[in-house]
Symmetry: C2
Subunit: 306 residues, 2 copies
């Protein structure tokens, strides 16, 4: 069975990890948002790619969902003592990833090739692909002007009011090698419970991806539960854009792309007004077992749609 998961940050990484756990090695391909990649201290940082890989490798910090387990902060503290910026703290283990990725990018390697090698080093059996090897930086249009995604997300803690998004150069980007083929060969595509605006929309916006998805059984898992995001600014963004934050709005966001939709038990009253098949279950993944359980349920539900 070939499964493709589209994922952004922590929520997406959790479900991708659940899917990886119940599928055979090679059955899962995770296509990851790179819109929030940025350069910091001269290093190329790919927060979503790293969150997904660390989770799949079991190297993630179970407290935060992002970053590395057993992380130390020696370099970041040394930067702070020099008066440098500490708003995006880079852990020492995590820095190893950014250093080696930056070195290889400068040597001319593609992000997708580097990610493949990193996954091999970390013992990850699934394929992890950046949506594109081309930089497609997300800009958040806010009431205070344009902000780079990390400026908005980390430095400003999502406080500025959102008016829209811009994915710079996305129309000249191409899917990373293997992305279109993985989708074409997939029996099922799962849109993980990631932020629709800034985690999934960039993936869908890379020319060619939406077209191949249109031919597929696509199931999305709502990142909004009872109108709130488990983590991150998704609900706040919907509200600021004048849309009621709810699982229903997420389903409408993806529109015709979806064959089925997965919502939390708390939102079961919404099934009445949803025009596509839905699965109502516990979607909140706190313990690792809940990742596998949700993954199993999503797959069983999806099989009824194939």
């Amino acid at each position: 069975m070939g499964i493709v998961a589209l994922a952004g940050g922590v929520g997406g990484a959790k479900l991708a990890d659940g899917l990886a756990e119940i599928l055979l090695p090679g059955e899962l391909t995770v296509i990851v948002n790179t819109g929030d990649d940025f350069e910091h201290f001269g290093l190329r940082i790919c927060p979503d790619l790293d969150t997904v890989c660390y989770n799949l490798a079991g190297l993630h910090n179970p407290e935060t969902g992002w970053g590395r387990r057993g992380e130390s902060w020696v370099s970041a503290e040394a930067v702070g003592r020099l008066g440098g910026p500490t708003w995006f703290r880079l852990g020492d283990l995590d820095l190893g990833t950014h250093l080696e990725r930056t070195r290889r990018l400068k040597a001319g390697d593609r992000l997708s090739a580097i990610t493949k090698d990193f996954c091999h080093s970390w013992g990850i059996g699934s394929s992890v692909l950046p949506m594109s090897d081309d930089p497609v930086p997300t800009i958040v249009l806010t009431a205070e002007g344009e902000l780079s995604f990390q400026e908005y997300f980390v430095a400003r803690r999502c406080e500025p009011e959102v008016m829209g998004f811009k994915f710079v150069d996305i129309l000249c980007s191409t899917p990373a090698p293997g992305v279109l083929a993985a989708i074409e060969e997939a029996d099922l595509v799962v849109i993980c419970p990631s932020n629709p605006w800034v985690s999934i929309d960039p993936i869908l916006g890379v020319p060619g991806i939406r077209q191949v998805l249109a031919e597929k059984v696509v199931v999305a898992v709502s990142p909004l539960v009872g109108g709130k995001a488990i983590k991150g600014p998704a609900a706040k963004m919907y509200a600021e854009l004048g849309i009621e934050p709810s699982a229903l709005s997420v389903a409408q966001h993806y529109g015709e792309l979806l064959s089925g939709f997965v919502m939390d038990n708390i939102d079961k009253n919404l099934t009445k007004i949803l025009s596509i098949s839905s699965l109502i279950t516990d979607t909140i993944m706190v313990e690792r077992e809940q990742r596998h359980k949700l993954a199993e349920e999503v797959l069983s539900f999806a099989r009824t749609l194939m």
Copy 2:
């Protein structure tokens, strides 16, 4: 009293530290070689500048003379697990310096301004100036072809036979702000016991520096003791270039620039054939007290030449 010290790596940093210890804050300016600066993992590394600063701040590793005291290697080990290069190991504390320096260089700040701020953060009372804000990378011409300095020095452990040196773009470089003024105002210039070929020659090669030095009382301390280098490849370089490695060769290397020369007791027989004033003393600095002692002696000797 205004003193300028020209310094490269460990030996230079030790004497600079000795001078800083016995002079009043503000009396000492250390002009440091940046010829062995390089880019690694996308970060700008300035080994000599950092060695000098860490020594002046008391942050240096007393075992090695370079690197930081109490250093950890979490990032470097993470890089190694990804199959990345480990020939130039970057400690976590040290990485903080490279990260913040790289960030500020990319933001448009000059290396000299950044170094000034770092010295302030580290509580260094002396002025530390890079010889130039312009990159002047040292290339070692070897029997195996041209090697970048760190490739020769660290990766190849100084094994390839040396045939010469090239300081790329040195003729279009300018001294960093404050360099010429510091020398012009100095009562004395001390050439520290650093490698004449690759630590001091780059400084002397920056247009304008040799000219202002010509007007000054200049005293050099031999890095060769009994024909051998305390550390590094200076003696091997002399031999491979067909010059007998000795303190005398170092004095001849600097030639007319020198008003006086300081050699180790072991080389006292060379005074007979040296045509300038010399001081014979213990020049090996193992304990920190020996740094102050040598600095005191060099200053007393220099006073007799003024």
